[in-house]
């Protein structure tokens, strides 16, 4: 782990989490507003997150277990926002009184 790689790795990790968060945010925003443009932006964020995960896995000196964690997280990010949103919709539908 050289000093320069250490800084770059940290920045990549932060950006990875940021893109994951942006994907979650834009996905939910796009779905609740029915906006295709926002959904596309969300997908772009997710794609960027995947690229960052691959970069971390291939180009940083992190130990294997952390690279595996990042790759698995990258995969999991695909499902977390849709599952969470679907659950929220069901939860609200179940308990919100009729309008």
């Amino acid at each position: 782990m050289t000093p320069v790689l250490f800084l770059l790795t940290a920045i990549l990790l932060g950006l990875f989490m940021l893109c994951g968060g942006a994907w979650a945010l834009l996905y939910c925003l796009g779905q609740t507003r029915g906006s295709k443009m926002i959904m596309r932006a969300g997908l772009a964020s997710y794609a960027l997150a995947v690229i960052l995960a691959l970069t971390i896995a291939l180009a940083t000196p992190l130990q294997l277990k952390w690279k595996v964690l990042i790759m698995v997280s990258g995969l999991a990010y695909a499902f977390i926002p849709p599952i969470t949103l679907r659950y929220l919709e069901r939860l609200h539908a179940a308990w919100e009184p009729h309008a």
């Binding site: 782990m1 000093p3 250490f6 940290a10 945010l25 779905q31 609740t32 992190l62």
Partner: protein, 488 residues
């Protein structure tokens, strides 16, 4: 079934004593928030003007006052919010309210005395007398033992208030159930504030049980509880929904956070399996925060941002975002051991700490302040514009400070640790690096903006607001109202 106006205070309606006590706690919290800013800014200045007050009032005491007022003001904010909501939740006055009122004043007096001791006595000789009466010298819990005992007293009375009221009311809502269970570790781990183990490794091991289990576990649950109440209040979210969400949050926060404690056990003499365990669970800690962001966006979409209390709603939504960014992203950047080896104990940590505390707790407590303002002023709709100033300046100030500190922290980690070899010489070289110093100057500048935001916030909270009628489409009694407290 209560109508939509049950949560708006009419002139004829009076507050429960507990709510009045809650207000006192919140006022004290806001006052200490200001004190915290003063000592925060002072602490920042030592980096820029190193000879300042030398041998009279040095950095360590200024910083102590800054971080201790942080802990106390947030604790008071959390306790005050709970005193505010509890009687409404359980439909009766809080049991033991008189004792609670007394202890509030004892608490304030103790804080004042400790502040005076820190200002004028500061340190003592290396003996137990010093630890009992002047200074314990362990971060966040420097207050002498007599004061720590006082805090235990306050929390025991608080616990009695919560549990006693639930018993007397013969009602334990889901939210109150979580609160009661959370009180056990909240009070229990505070006992580690009294430790003075000779062995630094052992001392720190248990100290982290207090610090981590407060700010990354029990306090997260408290703010979750308070946010549940605020959501019901401000968004009319049904109780069952906030309950389910609260349990999910508790499951995720504690599921990750209990072993996430291990991210403090990398370098203190503990076995190296903590590097793997701590790093892994720490990496999971942002997940519940991500969930909060999703929920916030969903609520925004569903309600189309319509609320009776705009500032509270915006602050609580901001909480979800900044909690994720400050605790989640910033934390994730530095938590893996190979990174942390270099970033540990630098201004990078300071950046993360400030951002995480602000996102996780400060934004939420400010939301409660606006809830209280609305109720006390009898406003049907709180949607003035003056609150934008506090909101904008505080957020700009904080984001500016933590970005500046990140720059300094990265420079420090790079020059002192990664290239420099962590000696005194490396420390000095890093501290004179232009990126490092630029970051600290910028931090001070943004600190001024943050302080201005605080002034704007306080002014807005105190000044009166013009009565604005509800929009016609919101005037009918909302059916989306939390029902009477139910037995769980």
């Amino acid at each position: 079934m209560s109508t939509s106006d049950s949560h708006t205070l009419h002139r004829s309606e009076t507050l429960y004593r507990s709510q009045k006590l809650g207000m006192k706690y919140l006022i004290a919290a806001v006052a200490l928030f200001g004190v915290m800013i003063v000592f925060g800014f002072l602490s920042a200045l030592y980096y820029l003007f190193p000879g300042m007050f030398f041998n009279v009032f040095d950095f360590n005491m200024s910083k102590t006052l800054h971080i201790d007022t942080l802990v106390i003001w947030i604790l008071m904010g959390l306790i005050g919010s709970i005193y505010w909501y509890l009687p409404k939740e359980l439909g009766r006055e809080v049991v033991g309210i008189r004792a609670a009122e007394w202890f509030f004043w004892i608490f304030c007096a103790a804080v004042a005395v400790v502040a005076l001791i820190f200002l004028f006595v500061q340190t003592g000789k290396a003996n137990m007398w010093t630890l009992w009466f002047i200074q314990q010298g362990r971060k966040y819990v420097e207050a002498p033992r007599w004061a720590a005992l006082g805090i235990v007293g306050v929390m025991l009375v608080f616990s009695y208030n919560v549990i006693g009221t639930a018993i007397k009311a013969n009602k334990v809502t889901g939210i109150v159930w979580v609160l009661m269970i959370d009180l056990i570790p909240l009070v229990g781990v505070y006992l580690f504030a009294f430790d003075s183990d000779t062995n630094m490794s052992n001392d720190l091991y248990w100290w982290w049980w207090l610090v981590h289990m407060w700010v990354e576990s029990t306090w997260e649950i408290l703010i979750g509880i308070i946010m549940a109440w605020v959501l019901m209040d401000v968004m009319g979210t049904p109780r069952k929904i906030v309950e389910a969400w609260l349990y999910i949050e508790v499951m995720l926060v504690l599921g990750a956070g209990i072993l996430g404690l291990g991210h403090h056990y990398f370098w203190i003499g503990t076995p190296d399996y903590w590097l793997s365990i701590g790093g892994f669970f720490s990496a999971l800690e942002p997940l519940p925060l991500l969930g909060m962001v999703v929920h916030a966006v969903y609520d925004a979409g569903m309600h189309k941002m319509k609320t009776r209390n705009r500032p509270a709603y915006i602050w609580i939504t901001t909480e979800a975002f900044l909690n994720f960014i400050g605790a989640g992203i910033w934390g994730f950047m530095m938590t893996l051991p190979q990174i942390n080896l270099f970033s540990h104990g630098t201004q990078w940590t300071v950046s993360h700490g400030h951002f995480a505390f602000y996102g996780a707790y400060v934004c939420g407590i400010i939301a409660v302040l606006y809830v209280v303002k609305q109720k006390v002023s009898g406003m049907e709709l709180l949607a003035h514009r003056r609150w934008y100033w506090g909101y904008g300046l505080l957020n700009l100030g904080m984001i500016g400070m933590v970005s500046a500190l990140l720059l300094s922290g990265m420079a420090q980690a790079f020059f002192e640790r990664a290239t420099g070899g962590s000696t005194l010489m490396a420390f000095v070289i890093a501290s004179e690096d232009p990126w490092f110093t630029a970051g600290l100057w910028a931090r001070a500048g943004f600190g001024i903006i943050f302080a201005a935001g605080y002034v704007a916030l306080v002014y807005d909270l105190l000044a009166s607001v013009k009565q604005v009628p509800l929009p016609t489409d919101q005037r009918r009694p909302s059916v989306v109202r939390s029902a009477e407290p139910e037995v769980a």
